[in-house]
Symmetry: C2
Subunit: 352 residues, 2 copies
């Protein structure tokens, strides 16, 4: 009987447009690491969940960005929740659950101290779930909190418009803005998502950008113009929003999911409104604000526990084999709320 | 013999693209105001100089902006230097020189207290000229100072790139940035302007955006990318600059002369770099910062007096009759430095 294999997904080529399953990535079976692979200060983990995020599309482009691009032949990057199988670290024992940005798309990984955080149940609200660590209490929730704190700064009564509002970050942005007393307009890509925004999350208005009268409805929904625009999408929605910018408005530039796959980007024609309306349009990257994480996590856990922040997850089963198709689905809007891939259920016993 | 006439230029129609002399504006001869027209607190003035500015093109568009559009049939708006002919105000006496934003394109005007500022020679450096009140010491100089203070904030050693660098605002921006220790790259539209920037104003690099290898030269001139970009132009230059944005760079959005005349605007395709490089892209309007004027004027007068700020003027003679053609010329890049129209020489005697 041969050594155990470790299914790993590597970047095979850089897509020019859409990710093509079976071509952009390749599935390789490497010899699995074992307890003998560990040095002092390391743990062997098995991945339970992969976080799937729009930013992943940008990580595989060879452009100057906030992280170096994933190299051809490198394991695809991403946040995971994993279980410790073996430990030579003082930070964790076998059986611990951890989150990590250093394992990536693989079944088994060796991580060193500093590359993982042990999950502490004390920081979770009573109604918290393990997977919230990749959603409301993870990078996507932190992104919402930090972008609103540093750039958006919504005041009571202001109009906040969120694009990608039914996604993991956008849904938290809108709810935080409601908590801060703002009037919130959410934009999403289906009537079902829009219903979730208005009926469950209590957004004041929900707009389906695919409807034929989207621009007209957008204008009607912003009679006093936009004080804060949260951009997850770019492209046409950003352009329309610039056309409706209020004086001294803040445009929180978080992402541009409509543009990541586009070979030829389209710029916002209403950019001149940045001058006329004195818009502050500012990009940010959550990783620059690690000092804010504790305060942000504490507040997000509080509102989650109070039921003031609701969340939805779209959890895809099938493990790493379907990771590529699942990521493609993200760009087609298949998910509401946080999109996760379950590689292995936490209730399955650990494998050694 | 009939009453004296007052040549006035009114907006006749809103241009869709370029201003068309003889069509966009109309020249009307109204009955001239006289001393009998004055109420208590008013002055009768004759215009000596008109300031011609890129923003004028935007003032005649019917769009939501920082000022209401000039109405059809209204006197064209603009800053003037004028001489008081008659006064029923305690603020001025006949013979005083004043600046005003409320007279517009007309030979004679009645202004009320609060609508004009009397020129005080004590606030001018020894080498100052009357027309500096529309240039380095006027709105264009104030614009440079205020945009750098609130948004650009150049630090010693940083790379500052200025578009429209040979214009009235851009030339002051670059020189202030040099005074603050930055490395300055100026973009202009002719080799002659570029020579003025590098030889007279001591910019580190000058680039002619009309040269065929502009993009390559731009890259070579910004090996450490751009920390501050001052945008007077928009369009392609803004797009190229976004492609070269440094991490945490500031884009001072002052104007978009390349776009004012365009019926169809083009947006910057590199807008996604706002996220990747955490760019702060912020528009401003000088009139929002009146509280800064005294400090800004004092510093600008100081550097002008020291010879650390140099300026050039392009003064067109011919009076109001050629105002339209002169404004059209501004968009074709005919001027270096501040563009002025001389309606009447200050050395000519006052007319009553």
């Amino acid at each position: 009987m041969g050594a155990r294999q470790n299914l790993t997904i590597q970047l095979a080529e850089r897509p020019r447009g859409d990710i093509i399953p079976g071509q952009t990535f390749r599935q390789v079976r490497l010899t699995a690491p074992t307890v003998n692979s560990l040095s002092e200060g390391q743990v062997l983990v098995e991945v339970l969940y992969l976080s799937l995020d729009p930013a992943m599309r940008s990580w595989i482009n060879d452009v100057r960005s906030y992280l170096p691009p994933v190299a051809i032949g490198e394991t695809m990057r991403g946040t995971v929740i994993a279980r410790v199988l073996e430990s030579r670290s003082h930070s964790a024992v076998a059986g611990d659950l951890i989150t990590s940005f250093n394992a990536g798309w693989t079944e088994l990984a060796v991580l060193s101290d500093g590359q993982f955080d042990v999950v502490s149940s004390s920081s979770m609200p009573a109604n918290g779930k393990l997977t919230d660590l990749m959603g409301v209490l993870g990078i996507t929730g932190l992104t919402a909190w930090i972008g609103l704190k540093h750039i958006g700064q919504p005041k009571p009564g202001e109009t906040v418009v969120v694009s990608g509002a039914a996604g993991a970050t956008g849904s938290v942005v809108g709810q935080l803005a409601k908590i801060r007393g703002a009037r919130v307009v959410g934009i999403a890509g289906s009537d079902e998502k829009v219903r979730w925004l208005t009926e469950e999350l209590k957004f004041d208005v929900g707009l389906n950008y695919k409807s034929s009268d989207f621009r007209e409805k957008f204008e009607n929904a912003t009679p006093d113009y936009i004080n804060v625009f949260w951009d997850n999408v770019g492209g046409e929605q950003l352009d329309v929003a610039l056309g409706r910018a209020a004086k001294n408005s803040r445009f929180v530039m978080c992402g541009g999911i409509s543009q990541y796959n586009a070979a030829l980007h389209e710029g916002p024609r209403n950019i001149t409104n940045v001058v006329y309306q004195r818009v502050r349009m500012q990009g940010f990257v959550v990783f620059d604000h690690i000092e804010d994480y504790p305060a942000a996590r504490a507040e997000l856990a509080h509102w989650l526990g109070e039921g003031k922040i609701k969340r939805k997850e779209t959890i895809i089963k099938g493990g790493l084999r379907v990771a590529e198709q699942t990521l493609v689905g993200l760009f087609r809007g298949t998910n509401t709320g946080k999109l996760l891939l379950e590689q292995k259920s936490p209730s399955d016993p650990g494998t050694t």
